[in-house]
């Protein structure tokens, strides 16, 4: 029997998880930036800056452009937040602690990730601005390249569990985590995870060479929502990585949910650190690496995982 939380409980839990997660991403990003820059780490400043910056965006005007697609522009961040929420809802915090555990949880998560392209494209298309549209096109090329390796890397985690339920996938890692069982899986997942959440070296749609790309015309609450939605997506990717490859709630001494949170935090640190240390990857290079290297590696990962189970 699959478990589903009461809708209001699920909504509250996912909302809280996203709020805390987005805040943590902002704090960690600030701290990681300070460390890489060789500055002193101002803890108090790091914890207060995200709140103050968010407040500043809230009091800013939400300006418009010449003949934008107003509804599309407003919808894009909401869609991205919703997709991140759906993805996060599939991740179990501990045994029996999950917002939704459909038998096809893996499919639901993958569907949410696939639709991120719609949100990003809408976000770049709607302002009627050349650099924003350029960013949208870039994400199209990026998404067409990462979808297959992303799905294959995740699919391999379903083989030992013989189930598409994320809870079952975590439960099947009691004896051996997938990161050990499928050593290729997590690296592939993290690379494409950066691409999915367009973060760090694979932040091509909102890149600095496009002066923020799809966000170039965003101001006020629109900018705040888009930044929050991107951070929420990163949290969802990290949380699913912890569940799919690092054994989710399994671990000694500490309660299961603490392990899930610690592993998610660890992956967040890796993803955020990569954003401060690795330069922007050229789109041609990423497309080539995805099709020529990541897809064959991900396929090999699936075949090897299947063979080991025979």
């Amino acid at each position: 029997m699959r478990e589903f939380a009461q809708p209001e409980v699920a909504l509250a839990a996912i909302g809280l998880a996203m709020l805390v997660g987005v805040y943590l991403v902002a704090v960690l990003d600030h701290l990681a930036g300070a460390v890489v820059a060789g500055e002193g780490v101002g803890w108090r400043y790091a914890f207060s800056t995200p709140i103050r910056s968010a407040a500043l965006l809230l009091v800013q005007e939400r300006r418009s452009t010449e003949r934008p697609d107003v509804f599309g522009w407003a919808l894009a961040p909401a869609l991205l937040v919703a997709l991140a929420a759906v993805a996060l809802a599939m991740v179990p915090l501990g045994p029996g602690m999950v917002a939704a555990d459909p038998a096809t949880g893996f499919v639901v998560f993958s569907a949410a990730i696939a639709l991120v392209m719609i949100a990003v494209y809408l976000h770049g298309w709607s302002p009627n601005s050349a650099l924003a549209l350029h960013g949208a096109y870039r994400y199209g090329a990026q998404a067409l390249s990462f979808q297959i390796p992303f799905l294959l890397a995740m699919l391999a985690t379903a083989l030992p569990a013989e189930s598409l339920s994320i809870v079952d996938i975590v439960a099947a890692q009691e004896a051996l985590w997938n990161v050990v069982r499928q050593p290729l899986g997590l690296p592939i997942y993290l690379v494409v995870g950066l691409a999915v959440s367009f973060w760090g070296p694979l932040n091509l749609p909102d890149a600095t060479d496009l002066a923020d790309g799809t966000s170039v015309e965003d101001s006020g609450i629109a900018r705040l929502l888009w930044k929050a939605a991107r951070a929420a997506l990163l949290v969802a990717v990290a949380a699913m990585g912890a569940a799919g490859f690092l054994g989710g709630w399994w671990g000694p001494w500490l309660p299961g949910p603490i392990w899930t949170l610690l592993k998610t935090l660890g992956l967040l640190l890796v993803l955020i650190g990569a954003g401060h240390l690795l330069p922007r990857v050229r789109i041609q290079r990423f497309v080539m690496v995805a099709w020529v290297i990541l897809i064959p590696l991900a396929l090999a990962n699936v075949f090897l995982s299947g063979a080991l189970l025979l």
């Binding site: 990681a32 930036g33 300070a34 460390v35 890489v36 820059a37 060789g38 500055e39 101002g42 400043y45 207060s48 800056t49 709140i51 103050r52 910056s53 407040a55 500043l56 809230l58 009091v59 800013q60 005007e61 939400r62 300006r63 010449e66 050349a130 350029h134 096109y137 870039r138 760090g200 070296p201 932040n203 091509l204 890149a207 600095t208 060479d209 496009l210 002066a211 923020d212 966000s215 170039v216 015309e217 965003d218 101001s219 006020g220 900018r223 954003g275 401060h276 240390l277 690795l278 330069p279 922007r280 990857v281 050229r282 789109i283 041609q284 290079r285």
Partner: protein
């Protein structure tokens, strides 16, 4: 106290989002703001609350400046930081807060945001009217039909037209003007580009807006030793230290264009406190960047320039990265006596230019140590960090005609990487064209 006031009160300690227009004489000062945690230099005016206009901005850029100002959301304000320049004629001047000679820019910017949030300073009105620049010329209610539908200029803009691309498809060609305040380019650089999808089909840069301006302006401190060296003896150590600083400032800007602002801050801090004894620190920095594969990932194989295009051009690091020992210092006895030899590499792409500049920064510091009290004698030309500098001729002027050939067929990100690697500097071009300098040289 309403909800907005409560939120505004929370926002009081936020880093100040500043869109900086860095005019002539202000590049280092504006870059230095990145080191303050209280300031956030943003890439688009839409993300800014404050427009900072620093240094000399020519009046021919007034319309672009007004457009940047009006693209900021309210509440907004402008801060003028003259740094010795006259900014009175700019369209932002009537409402601007001024950074006085004895004031800290960070303090003024912070106070300006505080005043906006507490309501003690009103938000600035738009400078330009919010109107279409030209009427749509079509006949129908949506602008369709009529002679202006194809090949016309609806609202003053050229229509995208189909043309074959490099893959044999027919894509829209979109003409764009990027600049003069695009954050990845030096201030004043305007790129006229025609795009087919994400590919540059045609590109060219407009002339430096700093040329032929009267009265002349004071160039930024990093350029001063090279400009002085055109007409007076200058200590060799001073020149080489300035060269190393300019290269590190360039590296910092290049890191930002690769999405690495934290590493850029580290490089910038080194540039600002650089001494001749820091050659090992620069070497260590270059090694760390190589270890992180920064030049390789982002720039390897990007924007190659054939040697034949650069022969005799005096294009400095760009030419030397392509294998040409083109360096005015090699002919100078002061340099020859301390064992100077140009560093030459053979890659010719943007990644090679990266590595060459960092190697030259360390070399310059070593030269500065060996130079002692030597001064170079003025001979009417000098090797600046960007190439051969003469009165009336700068590397910017000589590299600009190559841009159509260099940028054509590049993806936009690669085009930006290539342009950054060329270190085009309209300010330097304007400085050597100034009438004051001509008189001094004469």
């Amino acid at each position: 106290m309403g909800l907005r006031d409560v939120i505004a009160r929370v926002a009081l300690g936020a880093p100040v989002p500043v869109f900086a227009v860095s005019g002539a004489g202000a590049r280092e000062e504006v870059a230095g703001l990145r080191l303050s945690p209280r300031i956030e230099l943003v890439d688009t005016p839409a993300a800014a609350s404050i427009l900072l206009v620093a240094g000399f901005v020519p009046s021919k850029l007034s319309a672009a400046l007004a457009a940047v100002h009006d693209a900021m959301p309210e509440p907004r304000c402008t801060v003028h930081w003259p740094l010795g320049a006259d900014q009175g004629q700019l369209p932002t001047a009537p409402h601007a807060v001024l950074v006085g000679p004895d004031q800290q820019a960070v303090e003024v910017l912070t106070h300006a945001l505080r005043a906006l949030l507490t309501g003690t300073r009103p938000s600035e009105p738009a400078i330009q009217p919010d109107l279409d620049p030209n009427p749509w010329r079509g006949l129908g209610p949506y602008g369709q039909g009529g002679s202006g539908m194809t090949g016309g200029t609806p609202y003053g803009r050229p229509l995208a037209e189909l043309a074959p691309d490099r893959d044999g498809l027919r894509l829209d060609l979109l003409p764009l003007r990027i600049g003069p305040f695009f954050p990845r380019f030096a201030a004043g650089l305007t790129l006229e580009v025609t795009m087919a999808g994400d590919i540059v089909v045609e590109a060219g840069a407009a002339d430096s807006p700093f040329v032929a301006e009267t009265p002349t302006f004071t160039a930024r401190p990093g350029l001063q030793p090279f400009l002085r060296a055109l007409s007076e003896p200058v200590p060799l150590a001073e020149l080489e230290l300035a060269r190393a600083r300019e290269h590190l400032h360039w590296a910092s800007a290049a890191l930002i264009s690769q999405g690495l602002p934290a590493l850029a801050a580290r490089v910038l801090r080194l540039a600002m406190r650089l001494t001749p004894g820091d050659a090992s620190a620069v070497d260590s920095l270059a090694g760390r960047l190589r270890h992180l594969r920064v030049p390789q990932w982002s720039s390897s194989g990007v924007g190659p320039i054939g040697r034949e295009l650069l022969v005799g051009l005096g294009a400095g690091p760009v030419a030397r990265a392509a294998g040409l020992a083109d360096d005015a210092r090699a002919d100078d006895p002061s340099y020859v006596t301390i064992g100077f030899e140009p560093i030459v590499t053979h890659g010719s792409d943007a990644g090679t230019r990266w590595q060459l500049r960092l190697a030259e920064a360390a070399q310059s510091l070593n030269l500065a140590v060996r130079a002692g009290e030597r001064r170079i004698r003025p001979v009417g030309r000098i090797e600046s960090p960007r190439g051969r500098l003469e009165v009336g001729s700068a590397p910017f002027d000589r590299l600009r005609p190559l841009l159509p050939a260099i940028l054509s067929e590049l993806e936009w990100g690669d085009a930006v990487t290539t342009l950054v690697s060329l270190d085009l500097d309209p300010e330097e071009a304007g400085a050597v064209s100034s009438s004051t300098l001509r008189m001094e040289a004469a």
